[in-house]
Amino acid sequence: MFGVSTQALFGQLLLGLINGSFYALLSLGLAVIFGMLNIINFAHGALYMMGAFCAYFLLNWAGVGYWGALLLAPLIVGAIGVVIERTMLQWLSGLDHLYGLLLTFGLALIIQGLFQNTFGSSGMPYAIPKELTGGQNLGFMFLPNYRAWVVAFSLVICLGTWFIIERTKLGAYLRAATENPGLVRAMGINVPRMITLTYGAGVALAALAGVLAAPINQVRPLMGADLIIIVFAVVVIGGMGSIMGSILTGFLLGLVEGLTKVFYPEASSTVIFVVMTVVLLVKPAGLFGRSA
């Protein structure tokens, strides 16, 4: 097709799907945090990086493998998130949203700087767990097991988060507290604690993405820094009005990026921003967003 081998096409589409799952997991976490705290968590990329480092430390210092890290790293980084919310973000409620963005930007600088000082800028390898090495020959392409696992697992996590927020009682409280915190509080629900835990959960999603990324990309202090801007573009395109919006937009843009790599590689690093520009021209509120 258009002089492109199907092998290359499907290979890039798979790569796009994998990037898409990271975009989806990260923008989902951003959306969850934004919904409750009204804060754009600029530290999201840094916390994603911490998730990957956490997996690395667990393996090399405590002998905890990939599967343990998949559970423990989000819990540990999530706990750090809880501390951040309790000690800093809490004091910003009631102020202009921009202060939240600026504070988390400062946090991102601190976290990234500390990791850079300790580990330098080069990457450290993290092996693919042995259960997921190898791959399947699908006839038209070779599918590495680990990549298939990443896509499948992040889909499950995304849909699970969507289910909790849109279909359970806990999610109903969350959504109600977003609309009217005072009223929900009057009904005897501890809204501040819910806000803290929501931030922890959003951060845990970022850390989970970090653990998933560790065997694919190397574990680097700056791995989150450039990704976060792409995720912001994803958020603008999706509109952040709905949880499903972030998930769909994340995967969709991963695919768009993958396709661009096949047909016009020079534009692959900018295509998401081009899409953002077009979407803004046609639909300023984003694809799934409510008008601001």
């Binding site: 600026l102 504070l103 400062g106 850079q116 921003f273 953002m276 300023p284 509120a285």
Partner: protein, 320 residues
Amino acid sequence: MTDISKASTVSSSFAPSERIALAAMIIFFALAPLVIYPFFLMNAICFALFACAFNLLIGYVGLLSFGHAMFLGVAGYVSAHTAKVWGVTPEIAVLLSVAASTTLGVIVGSLAIRRQGIYFAMITLALSQMVYFFCVQAPFTHGEDGIQSVPRGKLFGFIDLSNETACYIVVVLVFLAGFLLIHRTISSPFGEILKAIRENEQRAISLGYKTDRYKLMAFVLSASLAGLAGGMKAIMAQNASLTDVHWSMSGEVVLMTLVGGLGTVFGPVVGAFVIVAMQNYLSPYGSWVTVIQGAVFVACVLVFRRGIVGEISHLLGKPL
């Protein structure tokens, strides 16, 4: 009616406290080269103009642009390229760079003002990242190498800028022109409308103002002045590089403004000097500078939201 006209005539000139601060600033610029390395001063003054241009948006319209580095950086490339490759005189190079940043400002501004608040910040950030990728790939910017050894040239054909004193005086004069233009803008009726939009955009709309048009005008003006800073900086420093287009530079200008005092006239100038000095004197500590900058950011947002000048102005009870 009379009240309004009186208010705008009063505020269109400097308040007495601001006049004293302005005099102090000019005296500082006149005496500082005697004790401080002029290159450092010129660099700081360029960043001060950049921060003032940025503050025009956040401080007076309430728009946080997180991509202002693109105007500084692109203008720098344009003036460096035209001065070095085309061989134009410095004033033409700087004018062309302002034209470039103004054009970019119109494009980016008209896209970004479609959304508000945090979205505005994210859109400007994302678009600046697109500009960054363009600058990495475009042949005339020379990618990672940047444009080096740009000739300072002769201003208007006879003022030799390779003379450090002449160059310093020109940089100070250009800065003052930009600074006064910004002050004139924020204290004009146009500036009052901008402040009204900052305070309550819905009310400004219901009063009949086409707020999008005002926001766009402010954005473009800010972009042009950021470009002026970038164009002048490239001539003065004799190079243009990717550092100035990278989004971390956008973060730095936010930090400068925040440290000095959001929405104060002199805050961004003080903030720029503090941050440039910090980078200059802490550079032996490598990436600890990033950590320190982050810590300053956090401290400013949590306990020091008025910034240095804002705090002084609050203590004195007078505008600065």
